[in-house]
């Protein structure tokens, strides 16, 4: 392993980290803006042009706030909770292919932090670790509302992970690989997986909403029943970490949906662009294509939030266990029959 490789990867990791943070920051701004526009309001418009400096002001406010600690025996866990939530939210971006490759100074730079064969398994593992952040935080808060929020979040995530995994199995039977890079390459030239696996996409999308704890599945922070849910007792930047982790999760989910089902960095006319304009320009457009897709999905998350009201808890469990899981098993069977019949 030469030093140039290490430098290249370090730079790339720092860039991904920065981009994830900036995206999470501006998702908070976008959420408020989208919410306002869907409700015929204007939204934040005082700090900077169109309120663009609002996330900075919010961040500064969170840093300057007083830190409140509940009288709890689990002081250590109280600190660990937000840290776990945040770090798991940031870890998933390591295996995502942000683009194909660039050629800089005669070196081929692969636009992915690491290309493992088990990328999807890695993502599932890290995402399911994310629930520990919520569980630990809710438990250590020494507050019944926090604990109930945490219990809800945990059982919801566990139930929906099953349906999510099963929906992906149908996709994996088709692609035959767990590597996200391979899956992206296979979708080259408008062979997007969403056209072959629409049902799998639908189930995955619904589960993604549940996994990120967003409306209509945000029972973990249901204000009318649980005050703030698992982060009731948190204040200052620890609270900020929880909120930030939610938006980072949303960014990652939107990216995974785009990579798995919407061709990742592929766009129509990609091979033509690479032939005529060179590898670098063609692939930079690819990065922007991926970002356009994932920005649409982030917008979609917000759009859904201001359209559909929250589920009741039994409805949530009913949907997860009695509809989505059987549906994804049926999807697996249909996929299997189709593969046997057409290959």
């Amino acid at each position: 392993m030469d030093s140039a490789f290490i430098i290249e990867k370090s730079i790339f990791i720092v860039v991904i980290f920065a981009v994830t943070m900036v995206m999470a920051m501006y998702s908070t701004w976008a959420e408020r803006k989208v919410a306002a526009y869907l409700q015929d309001r204007v939204g934040p418009n005082r700090a900077g042009w169109g309120g663009l400096l609002q996330p900075l002001a919010d961040g500064m406010k969170l840093f300057a706030k007083e830190e409140f600690e509940p009288n709890t025996k689990n002081r250590f866990l109280f600190f660990v909770g937000p840290a776990v939530a945040m770090s798991t939210a940031l870890m998933t971006s390591a295996v995502i292919p942000w683009g194909d490759r660039l050629e800089i100074f005669g070196r081929t730079v692969i636009l992915q932090a690491t290309d493992t064969d088990s990328a999807i398994l890695y993502i599932f593992a890290v995402v399911s670790l994310g629930v520990y952040g919520i569980m630990i935080g809710g438990w250590a808060s020494n507050n019944k509302f926090s604990l109930m929020g945490a219990v809800r979040a945990a059982s919801q995530m566990v139930s929906y992970e099953i349906a999510m995994g099963l929906s992906i199995i149908a996709l994996l039977m088709m692609t035959g690989t767990l590597s996200l890079k391979e899956i992206s390459v296979q979708q080259h030239g408008m062979h997007w997986n969403v056209f072959y696996q629409p049902l799998s996409f639908l189930i995955f999308l619904i589960c993604a909403f549940a996994e990120t704890n967003r409306t209509p599945f945000d029972l973990a922070e249901c204000e009318s029943e649980l005050i703030g849910g698992y982060h009731t007792e948190y204040s200052s930047m620890k609270m900020g970490f929880y909120l930030f982790a939610e938006y980072a999760n949303m960014f990652i989910s939107a990216t995974i949906i785009s990579v798995l089902f919407f061709g990742g960095y592929n766009y129509p006319g990609m091979s033509w662009a690479i032939e005529n304009w060179g590898v670098n320009i063609g692939n930079v457009i690819g990065i922007f294509a991926l970002f356009a897709k994932l920005c649409f999905f982030i917008f979609f998350f917000m759009w859904i939030r201001w359209t559909i009201p929250r589920f009741r808890y039994d409805q949530l469990m009913n949907l997860g266990w009695r509809i989505l899981i059987p549906l994804s098993i049926v999807n697996i069977i249909i996929t299997g029959i189709c593969i046997l019949a057409f290959k």
């Binding site: 989208v34 526009y37 869907l38 015929d40 204007v42 418009n45 759009w303 359209t307």
Partner: protein, 181 residues
């Protein structure tokens, strides 16, 4: 032709409620969700209802009761004669004043022989009912002509408005006179 009471609909939006079982498609809710998404995205592009307050001000109705104004007549003299009827009529007891006799050479300042040297309204007590305006025999106090809301302040003392804030500005009186001629 006789119409039964059941078929009459004044709004034209009358809808028979039914409790029939949902079909499979309806139970999937997907169509309903897409309908909902369509409704919300239409609102995304609609004109916004917000009035950007400090820059834009909502139009006042002609009978709107805002901040009080002590009027001047067409020669720019104060109308108020400090009779105290406004203070008497005020249900919130927000008005206080101190009367003084007009000296020689002050005829261009005050219309009547007696005037209010101090006239104060406590805007925290005032309920903007307009009874002072109704009680005034000299046409001196009006709530409708300032076209202004009482602005927010940081201290309670700042809400006690004296003559410096209440008396009609001279320029406004001059403009009114010009309009009359």
């Amino acid at each position: 032709m006789s119409t039964s009471i059941q078929s009459i609909s004044l709004s034209g939006k009358k809808k028979q409620v039914s409790n029939k079982e949902m079909t499979f498609l309806e139970r999937m809710y997907l169509i309903a969700i897409f309908k909902g998404l369509w409704i919300t995205i239409k609102h995304f592009f609609k004109k916004k209802a917000t009035i950007h307050y400090p820059e834009q001000v909502r139009e006042f109705s002609p009978v709107y009761r805002g901040q009080h104004m002590l009027k001047r007549d067409e020669q720019g003299r104060e109308n108020c004669t400090a009779c105290g009827l406004c203070a008497l009529s005020c249900p919130a007891e927000a008005i206080t004043m101190k009367a003084e006799e007009r000296k020689k050479g002050e005829e261009h300042l005050y219309r009547e022989e007696k005037y209010a040297s101090i006239y104060e309204i406590n805007m925290l007590r005032c309920i903007f009912c307009g009874l002072c305006e109704e009680a005034c025999p000299k046409d001196a106090i009006y709530l409708t002509i300032s076209k202004e809301l009482v602005p927010a302040q940081y201290n309670r003392e700042d809400f006690i408005f004296g003559k410096d804030k209440l008396v009609m500005p001279l320029e406004m009186a001059m403009a009114n006179t010009k309009k009359l001629n």
